[in-house]
């Protein structure tokens, strides 16, 4: 009798079991926390190499990188985050077609972002920013001198982020196809929320990359 009472008491202490939607959401959060560490390590390495450049010096990023274009890309990602939350809001109200429209706009934002990044990279490579060298002249025409580690760190960080955007666009397309087939309703939509978490995280990371790589 006493044993039974103890057992009952112990069971009360446990958290309730994970449900299918909370399980997926928790899984995504755990992935994002791990991903934060990956980006954190890359940005810390960038900061360390920049601070450690010493007498050789580090080229001010604004001498090489086009801030206005990247500010536009930041704005674009913020817009796509808004369309993402609007997609979730729509399906929570049961409006499938509105959700699909907003998901489509989010995908479009991601694709334009990738296009602009490809344009930026092509432009920079043509001007001499490679994995081993710096351009001879900056945007303002002045001579460029400094650590050649600028190129590899820049391409590693923005490339890693670009891969995340590419993955996000594919993920969103899969969710959009499910949506068009009528998988989601006002009651069943946690998959849309989970893809949203990933997409907002990509936006959040870009906010950090934009500040640390382009502006500082």
């Amino acid at each position: 009798m006493e044993q039974a009472t103890t057992l009952e008491h112990t069971e009360d202490v446990y958290e309730p079991s994970l449900t299918p939607d909370s399980l997926g959401k928790l899984g995504m959060w755990i992935f994002l926390i791990g991903d934060t560490m990956s980006f954190g390590a890359l940005l810390a390495a960038y900061a360390a190499l920049r601070a450690g450049a010493g007498v050789i010096g580090w080229v001010p990023p604004s001498e090489i990188l086009g801030i206005n274009l990247t500010a536009g890309m930041t704005f674009l990602l913020i817009c796509s985050s808004v369309t993402m939350v609007k997609a979730l809001e729509s399906i929570q109200k049961g409006n499938v077609s509105r959700m699909c429209t907003f998901l489509g706009l989010t995908i479009l934002g991601g694709v334009i972002f990738l296009g602009l990044q490809a344009y930026e990279w092509t432009h920079l490579i043509k001007h001499g920013l490679t994995l081993t060298g710096l351009p001879e002249h900056g945007l303002k025409g002045g001579a460029i001198a400094g650590s050649t580690l600028f190129g590899p760190t820049f391409y590693a960080i923005t490339g890693f982020h670009g891969l995340h955007v590419t993955g996000g666009v594919i993920y969103l397309i899969v969710i959009l196809i499910h949506g068009l087939r009528g998988r989601y309703t006002a009651e069943f939509n946690h998959e849309v929320e989970i893809v949203g978490l990933y997409w907002h995280f990509v936006d959040l990371i870009w906010i950090m990359v934009f500040t640390f790589i382009y502006l500082i």
Binding site: L32, A51, G52, V85, G128, L197, H200
Partner: protein, 112 residues
């Protein structure tokens, strides 16, 4: 996991406006003659404000259990710790002893 359900939608357009304005301020303060240290502090502050807005409203952390917020903030703190721990070693003067700035000619030959 959501505490208050999803019926309470924050005003997303306000968050969007805030994010856009903060981005514009960020670009605006990158002026060459502005004190460097102040610019860096301001830029990091603005970036953190934007990141918090995205996490709290767009990622719905505001409506989740507080435990999740504590778990999520941990890797960010670890990243800050990582950078701080690296700095004293890399910025110390001793590290650069014996390294001289390469002359312009040497720089030219290494680039080609």
């Amino acid at each position: 996991m959501a505490q208050n359900g999803h019926n309470e939608h924050p005003k997303y357009m306000w968050i969007f406006l805030w994010l856009a304005v903060l981005t514009a301020i960020e670009v605006g303060i990158v002026i060459p003659d502005f004190p460097k240290a102040l610019t860096i502090i301001l830029l990091i502050g603005l970036a953190c404000a934007k990141a918090i807005l995205v996490a709290v409203y767009f990622m719905h952390l505001k409506f989740e259990k507080r435990t999740l917020a504590v778990i999520v903030i941990t890797p960010f703190l670890i990243c800050v710790f990582l950078v701080i721990m690296l700095m004293p070693d890399l910025t110390s003067e001793k590290r650069h002893e014996g390294i001289e700035k390469p002359s312009a000619e040497v720089m030219d030959t290494t680039e080609h």
